[in-house]
Symmetry: C2
Subunit: 518 residues, 2 copies
């Protein structure tokens, strides 16, 4: 194990991860990058078919023509979520090809990718570098992965590829619609998922790019979310995704009375601040409480005659209704969560697909995240200094990806609407198991027992004073919960071994994740 | 003067241009590039305003904040054509700042930029590297510019920046509509010009990027043809372009009986080939003869019930009519030439803005140009081996840019509809004054005296045989013209001095341009 050092957040982090030297987290906005962006090798048209037909007969043929060798890095996007039918086939093909020690660099993995565990056991895959949702996260948490997990935000993944921290040898991009030249879109076709922009950086930086589709159309495939000019080969399969699982089942409004109360308090809080005004902007996650908060706020907007300039998605039918009812000018959409979102993106020019570059990349000339007035996010744990955890459970298992969560903390007002306990385990803790977001960036925690405002935000404290909202210190809410459940939660029993790290948006190491004994 | 060597086209070209070693042209598709693309330096959000407002008070302030120094390279796009009101102000500001020896790297310069001659005389501008239309071309042709002219195609400009042959220090991008974050579009606003994509590569690769607009809108400016995430500063001016001159006056249908005959023969020729079929594709220049050929072809398409899959623009009202009448599925548009084109691009999702990257870049994984069935282009001279000239007049003066001309030669069938003489000077010559396109890529020359097919294209000769078209050898047409005008044209009296070069699409040197004595 590499040496551990204490970073600017007070967390002990390794100085080397998977053999690569690391920079410990230095504080918000403190790390100064140097040098130039990484770039792809220079291609030439005469090495590609003049008629633009880049189709080959199978995934295996495409992988072979890409020159894939043992030890290389294969990337993929996660727009198909738990309905992906491509990547398991890719690694099956790699196994048949006799390849070993591959690094899989997905933007996220899902329970459907559990076969990647068998490929790790067999040595085909050495390690997975990307968000680990479900069984692959548990596998890594228990110390079975050969190498450390590296958890990044959506913006952090772009940053890592852009800055050359991760070099992609072969990108495999599943595409609901594509042409033989490799132009591809996610907004139509039987496996429609909305945008493909989590795979955009892969298409720009990988040495070789394979587009895989089950809906080939004559050139040109419009829009071209992925540009064929960056694509080497096109593979047709009968079916690349399971539509029911592509469209996430998580976008269901909460019916829990406590969660509805939290959602309503969240909306009332936003309404009470100076930032709720004509032309404001907002982003909410796709969880049931955040969705409900959006709906409460929508009612306020109608009642108050206040219109938003833009809403950021993850888009759902609720956000689409806000657009279609004229309550916002634009949806700026990072990913679509249901078929209404897909339809709207396809048909409405004011429903715009964004990429992690425009939205989240910290190593750009600004990004959209800091232009958002309100962002409403979840968390698994929050401490009294507003530091928050989003990747590990209270048992220490890494079961969630960071998503855009870290990036969104740049918003004007960051709000975490969370229950004060889950399954009788307090969510408010003395110290988060894993630090994902520095407390200085988290402004408000809304629970069913009251609203806690970060003391750094005197402006917000001033705005809501005397407006009848249950404003309370976070420590007071925490003590109340501990009284109810009978004390502080048990600390998870973790091993010493570091099995993963959480990167900050600038590529520095924010925290280490320890092994969970089985 | 640097050494001259004979390249694969038999032309004597310099081995060094503006102090940089060159690769002589090696033949079509022969040059093998090496290495990785150039890239911009890594930025970070904390160096930009968190509220996204990148506005500064003046062009001069923006240039100063960009750290512009003597000897640096400033780039610009030419979507405003002869109506640009920005770049003269930029160089006036540079003069006031006391800067010297700047290199101006426009995608093209126009007669409106004649003040750049005075700035060259005063030493503010050292040289102009880009298409030279009009007085700046004459100035360079007469040997007054300090350094050689470098004439590139649209695709070649992208290739040169992408491959690192040209490094842009500061890009100044005029934008008909923009937000304070730097997102910008050309498809709306009082100076609307259509797309801004000739400036796209500048925005991606320049160290610093300034967006200049006279129509600031609240964030987000949608669409964002230029992404604010690549922009450093935004400058508001009262007026950035002269709309009447932005919209080119050259898109007037020819009324000349000879030109109309040529246009009709061109359309009849296309119709007679195997490539005229359901789903075919076509690109035509914006000159009067090419436009007329498109209209003749449209009538054939209607009569034959044949629909095109896509038409490439330069778009005009004639192309928009073809789209709106359902005779093509898509317009893939490199630049808009009139307000109908601008409106269609803004409103019709099947009228798609393309960039030199998607359309023309030879150092990509294919490009759109080679997927086009018919391309109809102009020329100033053609020799009996079908080699063609497009940048110099018969007097040797470089007065035209290459535009997309070289890139379009990759099409399936390249047709040059040209008069056999102009002002009693034959267009068909023994040897072109300047070689811009190798004859092996030029398939057909259509004149008012007959149609010449390149003997390499037996398929075309077969297709049109016996169909009543006036197919004749090029040499025969040439001899007939010489008989009429009284002999071959005089060779221009040129000096020995090389004042410029023509690049091929791969960055190699295709030809040298000699000084024209005054």
């Amino acid at each position: 194990m590499s040496e551990l050092v204490k970073n600017a957040a007070g967390r002990m982090v390794p100085t080397e991860v998977n053999g690569v030297p690391q920079t410990p987290y230095q504080g918000v906005g403190r790390f100064q990058p140097a040098g130039r962006k990484a770039s792809a090798s220079i291609a030439r048209c005469s090495d590609y078919p003049a008629n633009g037909d880049k189709r080959v007969g199978s995934l295996r043929e495409a992988l072979e023509k890409c020159g894939l060798r043992s030890g290389m890095t294969i990337s993929s996007h996660h727009h198909f979520r738990n309905g992906d039918l491509v990547m398991n086939q890719v690694f099956d093909a790699c196994a048949v090809m006799g390849l070993q020690d591959l690094v899989w660099f997905p933007s996220a993995s899902f329970p459907c990718h559990e076969p990647a565990i068998a490929h790790q056991e067999a040595g085909v895959i050495k390690r997975v570098e990307g968000s680990l949702n479900g069984p692959l996260g548990a596998y890594a948490s228990h110390g079975h992965m050969r190498g450390e997990a590296v958890l990044r935000s959506h913006g952090g993944r772009w940053q890592a590829v852009q800055d050359g921290e991760v070099h992609i040898d072969v990108a495999v991009l599943a595409a609901p619609t594509a042409d033989a030249f490799g132009n591809a879109t996610g907004d139509r076709g039987p496996s429609a998922c909305g945008s493909l922009n989590f795979g955009l950086v892969d298409s720009l930086h990988a040495d070789k790019v394979i587009v895989v589709t089950d809906n080939l159309v004559p050139f040109p495939c419009v829009p071209w979310q992925i540009q064929g000019n960056n694509v080497d080969f096109v593979v047709e399969l009968d079916k690349i995704g399971d539509p029911e699982k592509i469209i996430s089942g998580t976008t269901v409004l909460t019916r829990s009375p406590d969660r509805l109360l939290i959602a309503e308090l969240t909306a009332k809080f936003m309404r009470a601040t100076r930032f709720y005004r004509e032309g404001f902007s907002m982003q909410a996650g796709a969880g049931g409480t955040a969705l409900a908060a959006t709906i409460f706020l929508k009612d306020f907007m109608k009642a108050d005659g206040v219109k938003s300039r833009f809403m950021r998605g993850g888009s759902t039918k609720y956000l689409v209704e806000i657009l279609e009812e004229g309550l916002t000018d634009y949806i700026l959409d990072g990913q679509t969560f249901d078929l209404d979102g897909v339809r709207s993106m396809r048909e409405n020019p004011n429903h715009v697909a964004t990429s992690p570059f425009t939205s989240y990349n910290w190593h750009g000339k600004g990004n959209f995240a800091s232009l958002v007035d309100f962002v409403v996010l979840g968390a698994t744990e929050v401490d009294v200094d507003f530091n928050a955890n989003v990747v590990t459970h209270s048992d220490g298992l890494m079961l969630h990806g960071i998503g855009g969560w870290q990036n969104c903390l740049a918003a004007n007002v960051t709000i975490l609407p969370i229950p004060s306990f889950r399954d009788r385990i307090p969510v408010l803790v003395d110290a988060v198991t894993t630090l994902c977001g520095p407390g200085e960036l988290i402004d408000v925690v809304v629970t069913e027992r009251g609203i806690a405002i970060n003391p750094r935000r005197q402006d917000l404290l001033d705005d809501v004073a005397g407006k009848g909202l249950p404003i309370r210190p976070l420590a007071e809410i925490k003590a109340e919960v501990e009284g109810i459940v009978g004390g502080k939660p048990d600390k998870p029993a973790l091993g010493d071994e570091v099995v993963g790290v959480v990167k900050w948006v600038d590529g520095t190491v924010l925290d280490a994740i320890r092994r969970v004994p089985e």
